[in-house]
């Protein structure tokens, strides 16, 4: 009865959902972490470096991510909207290091949240038929093993088990006698597996080089639930049903280098190649379909990206260091496919932080990251939803490490 393709819109899990905040010192240094080894967060940044850890370290940190996005209609600017304020708290826990101080083998476990965020617009906003709110949460579990081949080269690898959930809501363009929209809510648990591999090279005390590769993780929602609120006369057209969807989280190849020109100063640089083109199409397959509720295939057409990052660490005293960094993270979303569930744009990131060692085995870390997307005038062709977007995010982070050796 009601026209098909009501759900042909969109859902995105992508660049905006990738949060490169898996270690405090690395956040503070522009996100660089593949080259220079600092602590147990190597489990994420470069498992090859874990074997450099002289003993077991426990590491925990939490970030407070407060993104804010503004939309202005184009071409006439007749309408503007802001996302509702939300705080996301990605966290990272790592335990790992060499089993014996002079051994070659290190093991570890990382529990971290590399993808997870969301966006929430007012329910009545102009883009409500594309998205009202969406959130993706994921937790990666990564048991890791690392081996020091010699003084110069060490290798490592981890197996990733990822679990998470997604939830999205949007309005349906079917109205009741009072003109009230219908609505759709889709939610489900997702999981997937992957690998995180790395090589760490330390030719001298003042140079470190790292290469890491994190494989694509296909997060599969095997049996999500789709529920609809529509006028009774249309209820049979929108049966509540289960759905299946697959969300590829992209592979990332990173190459980083760190140098220590003077003992107090460490400089790092890094590039990340991200295989976003896996996110070509987003499909939702429903167990029950009707002429109004059809399986959907939303084109995404993401392109691969290369992010570049730079950082510096200055050791003010034995127990205190300051860090700063900058990064440029281009958007994988091509023009024509910038959707309001993920109004992604090239991002410029500035960051700073400190580390402080009040007692011998304990280090307290703090960092703050400012992420500004450049203003982007964009279209989402499948929904013909056009506007200018800008996103800003401030991410304060706090954490600590404890050395058991």
């Amino acid at each position: 009865m009601a026209s098909a393709l009501l759900l042909a819109g969109s859902t995105a899990f992508g660049a905006g959902f990738q949060i490169n905040v898996q270690g405090l010192r690395q956040i503070a240094m522009g996100g660089t972490g593949t080259g220079w080894m600092w602590d147990a967060s190597s489990i994420f940044y470069n498992p090859g470096g874990l074997a450099r850890m002289k003993g077991i370290q426990a590491y925990g940190c939490v970030q407070f991510l407060v993104p804010s996005t503004q939309y202005v209609e184009t071409p006439t600017g007749s309408y503007s909207a802001r996302t509702q304020s939300q705080v996301f708290t990605p966290f990272n826990l790592y335990v790992g290091g060499r089993l014996r101080e002079n051994g070659k083998l290190a093991i570890g476990l990382g529990v971290y949240t590399p993808f997870g965020s969301g966006i929430k617009w007012d329910d009545n906003w102009e883009g409500r038929y594309s998205i009202q709110s969406i959130s993706l949460q994921s937790i990666f579990f990564q048991p890791t093993i690392s081996y020091k081949l010699g003084d110069i080269v060490s290798l490592g690898g981890g197996f990733i088990y990822a679990t998470g959930n997604l939830k999205m809501r949007k309005a349906l363009p079917v109205q009741d006698v009072n003109g009230k929209d219908g609505s759709a809510e889709l939610k489900g648990n997702a999981n997937g597996i992957g690998l995180n591999l790395g090589i760490h090279i330390k030719p001298s005390e003042s140079i470190q080089i790292g290469i890491s590769y994190r494989s694509q993780v296909n997060m599969t929602v095997k049996s999500g639930t789709a529920s609809f609120v529509v006028p009774n006369s249309l209820a049979s057209n929108f049966p509540n049903t289960n759905f299946r969807a697959e969300l590829p989280l992209p592979q990332v190849l990173s190459v980083g280098i760190g140098i220590r020109p003077i003992p107090k100063l460490t400089l790092t640089a890094e590039a990340n190649w991200v295989g976003w083109n896996a996110y070509d199409t987003l499909r939702f397959t429903y167990d029950k379909t009707t002429p109004a509720l059809q399986n959907t295939k939303a084109p995404r057409n993401y392109k691969n990206t290369v992010a570049v990052r730079f950082g510096a660490n200055y050791k003010v005293s034995d127990g205190f260091a300051l860090m700063a960094g900058a990064a440029y993270d281009p958007s994988p979303v091509v023009n024509g496919y910038v959707s309001p569930d993920l109004p992604d744009a090239d991002r410029v990131i500035l960051s700073a932080g400190f580390s402080w060692k009040p007692v011998s085995k304990l280090t307290i870390l703090g960092a703050i990251e400012f992420g500004n997307s450049v203003k982007r005038e964009a279209q989402y062709i499948p929904d013909n939803f056009n506007g200018t977007y800008q996103t800003k995010a401030v991410i304060p982070c706090i954490g600590l490490t404890y050395d058991f050796r």
Binding site: S3, V230, F370
Partner: protein
């Protein structure tokens, strides 16, 4: 002290992390909207669901436009509002449940059964005028020069001019002269073709009857005179051309091959019509229609011919219409009739385009735009098309638009104004308005 400074600077940092996009200030670029007048027919009046009612008028495209124009100063846009929501003179259509001759109940347009809040609808309110929304349902371009139009129209079931004219025997053009627009929209001429089309192309022997296509000369005289009145004080404006009515749901909903037959009925019809050249098979078949020019006075409808939405479905389902009883001609547009409509529409539109160029007034090609709706257009995640009921743009009468449909039209007009006059008037959020209302 120091702590509070840290706190304040912390807040400042957080506040600076909200994006701050500015949108440009709208500009009229010298256009004067202080007295905007909309001239047209039912589409301009906000007629919908087969009738005229208050909320339909409130959601007419001229009211939407005047809302946007009011950004540049007061417009005092006067609308001859009906007293209520019932519809006048006949009740509006709403979606409800109807049971057919076979006892099957389904969702379909039914007459509104709410309170008849029509008291006062036939009272003349011309003293409240002149009205800025001068959309008069049913009016044709040719009627503008016709003295006594209000009286004649009332006798034909369109009492709208009689409600607002100060003199029932005046020519509409003289009533229009009571307005002194600074800006106008002119969307006139659809009814010079539509009455012929919605009566199945049968025409009327009475000259100048609304069921006939207007002669080009009469159309030209009426349209040009109206245009000249609007332009007389140097007003700016836009003109719209005539949509090709054959692509609207009124003509595209009932398929020509909408006759389902089982094997037995197909065989019976083949036997009954043996030698006539008509053939039937199991499945969907082309209806049998009345055609006096056919050898046996009837024939099967051709795939490109159109069946009207008003075809009584119960007569098809239970009284054998379209099979042994041919569908009467008044429910069908034949190839020739469609050709008559297209030819007239093209001629009228060519004239409108020529006049727009001559008077340096922008033309909105509504004919082309409504054809894009036929193939489907997307606006902010909502797909609009000409499918009856579900298409969202056309109301339940299959001819007039929903509030969302009228908003799409208003945006086309705004775009034309902005382009031609180099103004930056904000567009309308189409989805702020309602499409089709589905029952609980």
């Amino acid at each position: 002290m120091k702590k509070s400074l840290v706190f304040i600077s912390g807040l400042a940092v957080l506040a600076s992390c909200k994006p701050n996009l500015h949108s440009n200030t709208p500009t009229a670029n010298g256009l004067n909207f202080s007295n905007y007048v909309a001239v047209g027919n039912s589409l301009t009046a906000g007629y919908a669901d087969g009738s005229l009612y208050r909320s339909g008028q409130q959601n007419s495209y001229p009211v939407m436009l005047s809302d946007q124009f009011s950004l540049f100063g007061a417009t005092n846009f006067k609308v001859p509002y009906m007293p209520g929501e019932y519809g006048y003179p006949s009740p509006k259509l709403v979606l409800g449940y109807a049971t057919d001759c076979k006892g099957n109940t389904s969702l379909s347009p039914v007459p509104y059964s709410g309170v008849a809040d029509t008291a006062g609808s036939n009272t003349n309110i011309s003293t409240q005028g002149p009205f800025n929304n001068f959309g008069i349902p049913g009016i044709r371009a040719v009627d503008y020069l016709s003295a006594g139009y209000a009286v004649i129209a009332s006798s034909l079931g369109a009492p709208y001019a009689a409600r607002i004219f100060s003199d029932p025997f005046a020519r509409p053009i003289d009533e229009l002269k009571r307005n002194n627009p600074t800006f106008f929209t002119l969307w006139l001429g659809s009814n010079d073709v539509l009455g012929y089309a919605t009566s199945g192309g049968e025409g009327s022997p009475i000259p100048n009857h609304p069921n006939n296509i207007s002669s080009f000369a009469n159309f030209r005289d009426g349209w040009d005179s109206t245009f000249a009145v609007l332009l007389r004080n140097g007003a700016k404006g836009v003109v719209m051309n005539i949509p090709d009515v054959t692509s609207i749901p009124f003509f595209t909903t009932v398929p020509a091959n909408g006759l389902p037959l089982d094997t037995t009925s197909a065989a019976q019809l083949n036997a009954a019509y043996a030698g006539s050249g008509m053939t039937f098979h199991t499945g969907n078949n082309f209806f049998v229609i009345q055609d006096v020019s056919a050898p046996i006075g009837r024939r099967q409808i051709k795939s490109n011919e159109l069946v009207l939405l008003t075809l009584p479905q119960d007569s098809v389902k239970c009284a054998g219409w379209g099979t042994l009883k041919p569908i009467p001609q008044k429910y069908v547009l034949t190839t020739q009739e469609i050709q008559n409509i297209v030819t007239a529409t093209n001629a009228f539109n060519q004239h409108i385009a020529d006049m727009a160029v001559a008077q340096k007034i922008p033309l909105v090609d509504m004919n082309a735009y409504l054809k894009t709706i036929a193939t489907g257009i997307m606006f902010n995640g909502v797909n609009f098309n000409t499918k009856f009921v579900t298409g969202g743009a056309f109301s339940l009468d299959g001819v007039h638009l929903t509030p969302r449909g009228y908003a799409l039209v208003a945006n086309q007009i705004l775009q034309a104004i902005n382009t031609y006059y180099k103004s930056t008037i904000p567009f309308i959020d189409v989805n702020k308005y309602v499409g089709i209302r589905f029952p609980m």
